[in-house]
Amino acid sequence: MKRTLIILALVAMAAPGRASGQSFLGFRGLGVPVGVADGRSVALGNLGIGLRQVGLSASDPAAAAHILLPSVFVSMQPMWGDFQLEEQSGTTRTTRFPLIAIGYPVLAVNGTVTLSLAGFLEQRWVGHTTRMVNLGGIEVPVDDRFTTDGGTSVARLGWAQRLGARFSVGAAVGTYVGRLDREFGRTLDSLVVGSDVRSYEEASSWHYGGYTFSAGFGADPHELIHLSGALEWSGNLKESPGEDTGGAENRYDIPMRLLWGATGRLSERLHLNTSFAYQDWSGAGGFQAGVVSGKTLSYGAGLEWQMVRRTTRGFPVRLGYRRVVPPFRYLAADPVETAWSLGFGVNLVEVDGVRYGWMDVAIERAERSSSPLSENFWRATVSLGITRF
């Protein structure tokens, strides 16, 4: 069993930065955000903060403070989408492991060490075009194809500290990791230039680096209310050319991100949560003019109903909505992503609100738009958490 878990973790670790957000959005920037990737948050429309109940989170540094046993959880996201770009339409499909997180409590000091690897931004799309080029006075049709595949993840190491039964704080340091592969291919029409003319292909690879720091708190001022807040600060995101790639290193500003969220207990079995994220990309340096979005505020809300609750097990059902603002435009219009989500959890072992073994499943129907691009997708998120391994 232990070996299986390790293998599963390694499989997930092997694909940093590859999440289920493939999109044309942000093709001039750094791509599209991967977003929150655990099944419970997704189902509740949550932005990764403010959920009541002990857990592991890549975006909430204090969330793991109340973990009593070593835990690991991993998410998987299959996605099926389609897009409309002016007169064109197409489909997309992928499956990725966007998140793995580990928490190891140090009970002697009432804290927990956390380790996570989470997708951050993703650039995975293909552009092609047919055009005419003049070669020696002859117009030659050429087919150009540009593929970009990769993205950025954040590996974080954190500490969550319990301060009494109702308050906790946490902090994490992280580093950006990941790579981006770009490939340009040009095929000249052999009917015009002859079959001896070879296709032209040029590949380049880029590596990402940089540091980030986050800190946050969690509080239960009243037994009916849970509050959380976090701040994420980043140094420059560095994009360095690979060994066989020419060019200089690029640096991009990643603006500070503020997160806060709350959960209120409406009844014994019904909880309402809301979450907000503020991040202003408008002044971020390193990007081409007109690339970054002017919108700053994302929010989400959801209901969780404990449909079945036993002494040591539970079966919550969830409904959520979120509206997030991706940082990069397609062309000139600020992008918006909205999603309705539905999900359920299978809390295999749950004692006093602490889950020791669980599976969360969410399904989203989401739309992204940044004129003239619009994208729709179904996305499933399956998270599996295991404790005391």
Partner: protein, 451 residues
């Protein structure tokens, strides 16, 4: 808490999540769209470099192979005279095909009067027929042509015989008593009309057949010539069919085939090395060797400089195509192609031991470069392009893609040597039509919209 550990319970979900992952992760489809926003395209330019920009030397070597290595032969009389006849001059090309037939069959299977097939080794050879088959496309003639068969009377070598020498080997050279086959005796003649077929037959009498039965006689053989001026016939094959009378069934005559021991052709004059042209082909064959050194930096053309700024450094991968362009040259009409010729380009692996250097693999693929005969008729000037993309990439890289050293000497030669008496001529490096290097270059700068 449940008695069973939590991880054991949670592990129940593992197979499910792995199964879902396996089931959904296989078919991955990236979003793909055609848009000038997503891909701005690279720069593609064609550059044609003069010889002085990429070539350092050119020379022509001859003497590869022998006429006897061709499967057939040539027959010509006073062919190719005219104002452009630099090699042949007034007399024109004279060519004759020499044949030597070998041992006659020792027995045949004969049906006797009882209807049984029996071997019969007691044969009486009554006469023979030389059947010559011509290439109707390659042969140059204006109408029916009389072909004459002569019996050779002087010992000759089926491999090394030339117009001047009956034997021309290392250490032994024996001249014909008369150039062109020595003293001969006429066997017979026949007229070949290409409109009626590709074969002619010349009858050989029984005395001649009997004399050729002595296989120790090195003078036996047939010379095929013509007295019709201005023709050049290409012989594909020649066979000797023998009419024999079996002892078992004397009422029947049977045709049997004699071995063909040697087929070669002799011709006059031998082409001199070219002074103002490059040459490929012929029998023995000619090769042209060029030393090339493609530039690593380009200073033009204007559209390239405009897009990328000059000078532009080029790397091997940016070369989508490289072709050496040769301009056809009308040389001697006596040896001008009358049918398609296929040429090839191969690297010279050890230039220091030219002309005997081994050659690398063909750069032109399996098919080679096919040359049409009309390109070499006056005024010629047709541009022939030989693809050398891989070679130029290797030269820029400094080694082959496998890491082997690369030679900057290349040989232009016929696909097979020798291929024909005909050869192809091209303008030399000092003339207006000197070889040029055509490059199609691609640069991806500016492609893609990613950050």
């Amino acid at each position: 808490m449940n008695n069973r550990p939590a991880y054991a319970l949670a592990a129940r979900g593992l197979p499910a999540i792995i199964a879902v992952a396996a089931g959904t992760g296989c078919g991955e489809v990236l979003p793909t769209a055609s848009s000038n926003d997503l891909i701005q395209g690279g720069v593609a330019v064609e550059v044609t470099l003069p010889f002085t920009d990429f070539g350092t030397r050119a020379r022509v070597y001859g003497g590869f192979g022998r006429a006897s290595e061709l499967p057939g032969g040539f027959i010509a009389h006073d062919f190719g005279t005219g104002p452009d006849g630099r090699d042949v001059g007034e007399q024109g090309l004279e060519a004759a095909t020499l044949l030597r037939f070998g041992r006659y069959p020792g027995f045949v299977s004969v049906t006797d009067t009882a209807g049984t097939n029996r071997p019969d080794s007691s044969l009486t050879f009554l006469s023979g027929r030389i059947l010559a088959r011509f290439d109707t496309l390659s042969s140059v003639l204006t109408g029916p042509v009389e072909v004459i068969a002569h019996a050779i009377t002087e010992p000759w070598d089926g491999i090394s015989a030339t117009w001047e020498f009956a034997v021309d080997t290392v250490g032994l050279r024996v001249s014909w008593s008369l150039p062109g086959g020595g003293v001969v005796e006429e066997i017979g003649s026949s007229i070949w009309d290409p409109e009626e077929g590709d074969t002619l037959a010349i009858t050989v009498d029984s005395a001649r057949i009997a004399s050729w039965a002595d296989t120790a006689d090195l003078s036996r053989g047939v010379r095929l010539t013509t007295r019709v001026a201005g023709v050049r016939l290409q012989l594909r094959s020649a066979l000797l069919w023998l009419k024999t009378l079996p002892s078992i069934n004397p009422d029947t005559t049977i045709q049997v085939l004699a071995d063909t021991e040697a087929t070669t052709f002799i011709y006059d004059p031998i082409p001199r090395p070219p002074e103002n042209s490059l040459r490929v082909g012929g029998a023995p064959a000619w090769r042209t060797v060029l030393d090339i050194d493609p530039p690593r930096v380009l200073h033009g053309p204007p559209e390239l400089c405009e897009a990328l700024g000059c000078p532009v450094e080029i790397n091997p991968e940016q070369i989508s195509y490289a072709g050496l362009r040769f301009t056809t040259f009308a040389e001697s009409p006596a040896f001008a192609p009358s049918d398609t010729l296929t040429i090839d380009m191969r690297t010279v692996l050890v230039p220091d031991i030219l002309p005997k250097s081994p050659l690398g693999p063909p750069t032109t693929g399996f098919a080679g470069v096919v040359l049409a005969p009309e390109w070499f008729s006056p005024p010629a000037g047709h541009v022939v392009e030989v693809p050398v993309t891989g070679l130029v990439r290797d030269l820029l890289r400094g080694e082959t893609s496998d890491g082997d050293p690369v030679s900057n000497s290349v040989a232009l030669l016929s696909r097979f040597e020798p291929l024909s008496i005909e050869y192809a001529s091209f303008s030399d490096v000092r003339s207006v039509g000197a070889p040029r290097l055509r490059l199609i270059l691609n640069f991806s700068s500016g492609s893609g919209g990613g950050g």
